[in-house]
């Protein structure tokens, strides 16, 4: 059974159909890329999955359970975490605190235990910190030396890394990455590709929106192509690379491409 089963999702903004009856599935342990020209509906699809913007019609089943209509924090609790296309780190909080927020829902400390401080609060905090450090260690020397720095002072690439760390730390079954390599140089991009593979090896499934073809082709098990809110193709990287409809969507018509 598929880990994520999206069926016939439709989302409209006024007259604009952002998604038209899109269906796709993702199996456990898979890396699936979602590609398509700007405005194809990729981020909207992410928003529909995570509950940020529920779809008008259609269903999203995660682990066999319907998650449409659930608020985002419940979707996250069920094991889907995400990063954002426009980075959303908690600017004034330190790097470590940012990541610790990612494990908030695994915590048990409420108002009263925070005030009375039974020993388990300290244990929970220490364990939380430990696990955050482990995740931050995935990024080598990028984030670990900057634990106490406010997130807004980080470089662009490091803020992207921080978002990924925050999404990873709760141990999600599925992680949605929205353009994780945007604004990164080739060297940093390569590191992200390695990281995505590593994430997958560690037992998370990955759905990634990506524009850089090199990344898409090297990292994905399967590729899903969206254009104008419709799924126009799906398949292995090799099959997609040869698919005429995809080339048409991307290059704006075959004839013109041949004429050049």
């Amino acid at each position: 059974m598929a880990l994520l089963q999206i069926a016939e999702i439709t989302k409209e903004f006024g007259g604009l159909k952002a998604l038209r009856a899109v269906s796709l599935h993702l199996d456990e342990g898979e890396i699936v890329s979602l590609i398509g020209p700007n405005g194809a509906g990729k981020t909207t699809l992410f928003n529909c999955i995570t509950g940020t913007m529920p779809p008008d019609r259609g269903s999203v089943r995660f682990n066999g359970e319907e998650i449409v209509g659930r608020p985002p924090h419940e979707v996250a609790r069920r094991g889907i975490s995400r990063t954002f296309q426009h980075i959303r780190v908690f600017g004034q909080m330190s790097v470590l605190e940012n990541v610790m927020v990612g494990r908030d829902f695994r915590g048990r400390t409420g108002i009263f235990s925070a005030l009375l401080r039974p020993p388990r609060v300290g244990r929970e905090e220490a364990e939380n910190r430990e696990r955050c450090l482990e995740v931050l260690a995935l990024f080598g020397e990028r984030l670990l030396p900057r634990l106490d720095q406010p997130a807004r002072e980080l470089s662009y690439a490091n803020r992207r890394r921080l978002e990924i760390a925050r999404a990873l730390v709760s141990g999600p079954k599925l992680i949605l990455l929205d353009e994780p390599t945007a604004g990164m140089n080739p060297h940093e991009t390569q590191q992200v590709v390695d990281l995505i593979r590593l994430i997958c090896e560690r037992g998370h499934s990955v759905l990634v929106i990506e524009h850089k073809m090199k990344v898409v082709m090297t990292v994905s098990d399967r590729i899903v192509v969206l254009d104008h809110g419709e799924k126009i193709a799906e398949g292995t990287p090799a099959a997609i690379a040869a698919d005429p409809t995809v080339i048409e969507a991307y290059m704006g018509g075959r004839r013109r491409a041949q004429a050049d």
Binding site: T52, Q92, V101, F105, G107, G110, R129, V135, G203
Partner: protein, 334 residues
Amino acid sequence: MRGLKSIMANSPVLLIIAAFAAVPLFVANMYYLQVLVFIGIYAILALSLNLLNGYVGMLSIGHAAFYAIGAYASAKLTIDLQLPWVLALAGAGAIAGGFGYLIAKPTLRLSGIYMTLVTLGFNMILFLVLQNWMGFTNGPLGIMDIPPPSIFGFALGSRLQYYYLILTLVLLTVFSMHRLMDCRFGRALTAIRENELAAEATGVDTTRYKTQAFVLSASYAGIAGSFYAHFVKYISPDSFTINESFILLAMLAFGGQGNLIGPMVGAAALILIPEIFRPLLEYRMFVYGGILIVMMLVRRQGLFGSRSYRLRLTRFDPSPVRVYQRGDKFLPEG
């Protein structure tokens, strides 16, 4: 050994506490002590508002409403029900918190400015209720002869005793807020302020946290109200107008928010400035306004307006940070 270490680590805080405890030895003047007591009351109020405006980033501009509820609840509980003050204090906190819940539950779905307007409206409505419900609140005449606080049969009388009582309350407020903000709860609130959408998407139940923060904030204000009622011994609706709420906002603006030091500094400054310039008679409000304007021009975030001003009263994990290698064990939890 570890106890001693943590005492040493907190020594600046302990020194400040000792200094405040010693103040009456040097300040014998009753008027000065009275001013200090008021600074204490406003410090609690500003800290309670800071919980919302500073940490969660919800702008509440009618906070005097909860102050009023605490004051009236406490007066009513001690006069009509003959409850001892300690219970009335707890009751005032609980009742103000209850009202906070009633306001928060339906309005937290509203975003930003709409919620702000609700708090403003609540303050105005509450003022009208206090003003016109003759049977219960005695209207504009107010409630007189509120008994002094009695702690287990010992009734407070002198200014000095009030000073130590408010000092204790302020310390309890700071201590409890520090504990709240130093762990999961505080992190979640700050995350909501920094980026609500991201917090929600990472699994933070934002509505629940915001409701909790609102209730807590209201009960701290209620506790300040209770002390105020029993200190001044007379309350009337005039003490709890919108103007009062705005003074609290000005304190946060002046002292800075989002930490525990700024609001207290703001409260102290804005209580002291009118008192210091008393010789200028009615012109002192010019000075007051002028200082606020200059402050906003020179240092917009307030005197202590950053997260780096932190009271580190406790540390969870004193062990040094380990450096991890890329191949280290990391598995998702099942």
